[in-house]
């Protein structure tokens, strides 16, 4: 044997290339748009031409007569369709009323995309305009037009209610889709205890995910009526269940296949009308149907980040102790309810628990309007809440004449703390994050220097800004289970197949899960294959959201690997006569733990198990359920098994002649528990920071009177390569006791506090505080000029 001894080497913390990267770099990866099935038809959707209107008549006869058209459907053709979405207030094909410009009225399946497009133009729709409501505050007026006033069926009557068809929901007497009220302590007592109180109203804008791959779906029924969906969903098992409800069929008859996806970021967390519509067309035509968005459609018909009008009132004592916070927010829900309406779950955590606040009151109303509707988006409300909270941390510090870093350190959470909202911070690196990021950026000194130059004559002014964030890092228990299943199988060549419920959406989860398994089984990365894209094969998982996959999927993979390891070492002990606990697995071999002396190759041991008269497989399963709890009705509870922390300090340069703001540098310190794949985690942090930069400085979906004015990359400004800042990232390793190898989830964290830090930096540079995003040149210029007039 060539190898006599093998030293123990750990993969944890090393730089591991993504398993899927070679195919992706070579253009070999097949995304949903790259797939085609034999006999496939192409679908297109007719959307509303009005923002708010009654549908009086739809005539599809000319479209149906176009050669190459196989089906043209409206709500009347699918009377069995059921409402979708978080509040089940959204029929895929609209019946009697359109409530926003994205509303789906009809759909075509044709031989080609071009024929389907041509057919759309032949569909005649007659509308009767209704009063338009696009101002979220106005939605609360007693005389505001109602967006969901009454039950409605396919025929525009309430007849379906008598027949029991579950296609309608009961309308509302007002425009309030959801409310969230939370309270801790007594705010009046907090106010009385305050030396300083500040109040501002913050306006957070529309942005959208801009995944580079547009949305799409392929649906196919087999002759027995079983549905196969090719889907970009981030939540395959929830999707399967929801499709079963929509179609009224047994979930067992639905298989979801997930081709690699061109970006997720939360956008694929809900079911959207195009998906059931694609299935309706496949059912009706008995052919595979493919539906792909154009980029313009992607802008118009994708969910947005939740726009919010947020009024925050905060107080502190002269000694730098926070006393209270009250928050009153209005969420523009848009025409239908998706996950955006539920972002207060996350927002109130930041308000109540990023820093210690004894008294806190939080109120949210999510209101229906005729605007686009908001979904989930990386950070899930936390960018909005952090923007407000961190602005006030600076304002309060300035009001009492304390350095903002010192003020934050005084109020920062410590490990072991249980907050009034019920979150238990078993590990907490916030103070380390604050000190590390501030030191990297030379924050207090630079802030003083820049402030001293505020009033000077220079055209270009620099400023530094600090902001921190708290986010779930150990899953989020919002469903009865927050778990993930794993099946692990070792073949007689010593190779491992890791079958996991956790989906890969580009974030690198399959690589990190494989890494955890290899670490446990002493195998090289090349000996693992990951299966994670077929609900027929993979065990259940709640989905990719809440930064949970490394933590939850990782613990699940680790559990399965540990069982396999025990099984292998037991067998090796029987085979060799050496005690199991004196053996180890290294580089595909069984070795003596103490010396590293090679005992036998792993593959040989596995073969000896297969090819014996008591044949045995090494195949294990594990289901990991994190030790977290649901929030109670008061929104209190320890919803995550771990919490992630970060501080980011940014430096900006403001051109006071044009209002243009350049992000020069970001110094970031992240409590990540432990670094698993250094290459992967750096990529997550860097990409998140630039996504936060876009939110802060350039991205805005301009919605006027319910119309999206800039549905193109030409006018919706993503950050491009020359605009990225210098960046320095430090990882704070708090070694979380529950995390896989000590790690926490960090997928959302890096995007969360950039905008807040940039706001504080602009203030440091100019003395002007801007409470609305994004900081476009025009907005900044106007704010600077307004401040000049007032001074």
């Amino acid at each position: 044997m060539a190898v006599e001894t093998i030293a123990r080497q750990s993969l944890i913390g090393t730089r591991i290339a993504k398993l899927d990267a070679p195919d992706k770099a070579g253009g070999k990866t097949r995304y949903i748009g790259d797939l085609n099935l034999p006999g496939q038809l192409h679908a297109k959707i007719l959307r509303s031409a009005r923002v708010h209107a009654r549908i009086l008549r739809i005539d599809t006869s000319k479209a149906k007569a176009l050669p190459g058209v196989h089906a043209v459907i409206t709500a009347a053709d699918v009377p069995w369709q059921r409402p979708i979405g978080v509040a089940k207030d959204h029929l895929p094909l609209k019946t009697d009323r359109v409530r926003s410009l994205r509303d789906e009225i009809a759909a075509v399946a044709a031989d080609t995309v071009e024929i389907a497009q041509a057919a759309l133009k032949l569909i005649e729709v007659e509308y009767e305009d209704l009063p338009v409501l696009t101002d979220a505050l106005r939605a609360l007026d007693p005389d505001a037009p109602l967006i969901h006033p009454e039950p409605h069926g396919a025929d525009g009557t309430q007849e379906h209610l008598k027949t029991g068809a579950a296609i309608a929901y009961t309308g509302r007497p007002d425009n309030v889709a959801m409310t969230f009220d939370y309270e801790q302590g007594e705010v009046a007592a907090g106010e009385a205890d305050s030396d300083v109180i500040v109040e501002d109203t913050f306006r957070l804008h529309y942005v959208t995910h801009c995944c580079m791959g547009v949305s799409g779906a392929i649906a196919e029924f087999d002759p027995a009526g079983n549905l196969t969906m090719y889907s970009n969903t981030q939540v395959p098992f929830l999707h399967k269940r929801e499709f079963a409800e929509i179609l009224g069929i047994d979930p067992a008859r639905i298989r979801i296949l997930q081709p690699p996806i061109g970006g997720g970021f939360g956008s694929k967390l809900d079911i959207y009308p195009f998906e059931p519509i694609c299935v309706f067309l496949a059912r009706i035509t008995r052919r595979p149907v493919k539906l792909m968005f154009t980029r313009q459609e992607e802008f118009i018909a994708s969910p947005t980040r939740q726009p919010v009008i947020l009024t925050l009132r905060s107080g502190c004592r002269r000694d730098g102790t926070l006393t209270f916070r009250t928050v009153d927010t209005v969420h523009d829900n848009g025409a239908y309810t998706s996950w955006g309406a539920t972002t207060p779950f996350v927002m109130m955590q930041t308000v109540s628990s990023l820093y210690r606040v004894p008294h806190c009151k939080y109120r949210t109303r999510a209101v229906y309007t005729n605007n686009p509707y908001a979904g989930s988006f990386r950070g899930y409300g936390n960018l909005q809440a952090t923007f407000a909270v961190e602005a006030h941390m600076d304002r309060l510090a300035d009001a009492i004449g304390m350095d903002p870093l010192e003020f934050r350190l005084r109020n920062a959470q410590d490990p072991g703390e249980v907050t009034p909202q019920g979150m238990h911070f078993r590990t907490c690196g916030l103070k380390d994050c604050l000190r590390t990021a501030a030191a990297l950026a030379d924050y207090p000194a630079k802030r003083r220097e820049h402030a001293a130059r505020q009033a000077g004559p220079a055209r270009y002014k620099r400023g530094v800004g600090i902001a921190s964030m708290l986010h779930v890092g150990g899953g989020a228990k919002i469903y009865p289970s927050d778990g993930c299943g794993t099946i692990l199988k070792i073949d007689d060549f010593g190779s491992v197949t890791l079958i996991t419920g956790a989906s890969e959406i580009g974030q690198g989860s399959e690589t990190v899960l494989a890494q955890l398994v290899c670490e446990e089984l002493g195998l090289p990365m090349s000996s693992v294959r990951v299966i994670n894209n077929d609900t027929e094969i993979t065990p259940w998982d709640v989905g990719v959201h809440a930064s949970r996959t490394t933590f939850i999927g990782g613990n699940s993979a680790l559990g399965a690997a540990r069982k396999a390891r025990a099984k292998i070492l037991d067998a090796a002990a029987r085979h060799t006569g050496i005690a199991a606990d004196a053996l180890d697995l290294r580089e595909g071999h069984i070795v003596e733990a103490a010396t590293g002396r090679v005992v036998m190759p792993l593959a040989k041991l596995i073969r000896s198990l297969h090819f014996s008269d008591k044949a045995e497989l090494v195949m294990t399963t594990f289901y990991y359920e994190p030790p977290s709890a649901h929030q109670d009705r008061q929104f209190k509870g320890d919803v995550s098994a771990a919490y992630a922390w970060a501080t980011q300090v940014v430096e900006v340069e403001v051109d006071t002649d044009t209002g243009a703001v350049r992000l020069l540098k970001v110094c970031a310190a992240h409590d990540v528990g432990r670094v698993l794949n250094r290459l992967g985690i750096e990529g997550q942090i860097e990409g998140g920071i630039v996504m936060g930069q876009g939110y802060a400085l350039s991205e805005e979906l301009i919605v006027e009177g319910g119309v999206i004015r800039n549905p193109a990359f030409r006018d919706y400004k993503l950050v491009s390569a020359p605009e990225i800042p210098q960046i320095e990232v430090r990882f704070i390793e708090t070694m979380d006791g529950e995390g896989p190898q000590g790690a926490k989830g960090v997928g959302e964290a890096p995007a969360i506090c950039i905008a807040a830090a940039v706001a504080n930096a602009i203030h440091n540079a100019t003395g002007v505080r801007i409470t609305a995003l994004p900081f476009t040149p025009e907005k900044v210029y106007r704010a600077l000029k307004a401040a000049e007039r007032h001074s």
Binding site: G27, C211, M212, G263, G508, G683, E686, A721, P722
Partner: protein, 155 residues
């Protein structure tokens, strides 16, 4: 359906003939007629760079070029790059530097990097970032893409 015309061109070194509609883009020719799906549709209006290919060695947004204009030209797509030493080096550098996340922009980025390094074998960091400014990436923040291109330039 607009009228079709037959064109001849070289695709990844192979003489190729295709019948194309007059209003067809090169992107549609590659993906829908010839089945080469490595070149991606991201926006269809030349803003994202996901459909970048090389035409006579220069990078082009294939969504903005008419297929009929391929007549007599040499096209290189991501599928043809693996046989090219520089192309293979760039692909390997993208993998090793962590420049790939969802990967949807990656083929276009790799093609653009090839165009950049062919014209300027030893670019500065700023030249690299300028060189890929027409290619959007939503995942990486471009840092590791720039690292990869710099590594490929080093050889």
């Amino acid at each position: 359906m607009s009228p079709a015309r037959e064109i001849e061109f070289t695709l990844n070194g192979v003489p190729t003939r295709a019948a194309v509609a007059l209003d067809m883009s090169v992107l549609a020719l590659l993906r829908d007629v010839l089945g080469l799906t490595g070149t991606k549709y991201g926006c269809g209006e030349g803003e994202c760079g996901a459909c970048t290919i090389l035409v006579d060695g220069k990078s082009v947004n294939s969504c903005l070029m008419f297929a009929v204009d391929c007549e007599g030209r040499a096209l290189t797509t991501i599928e043809g790059l693996a046989d090219d030493p520089l192309g293979a080096r760039i692909e390997r550098a993208f993998v090793e530097a962590g420049a790939v996340q969802c990967g949807f922009c990656t083929p276009g980025m790799v093609m653009q990097a090839h165009s950049l390094l062919s014209a300027n074998p030893h670019p500065t960091r700023q030249e690299i970032l300028r060189g890929i400014e027409g290619n959007l990436c939503r995942c990486t923040g471009y840092f590791k893409i720039a690292d990869a291109i710099a590594a490929a330039a080093r050889g």
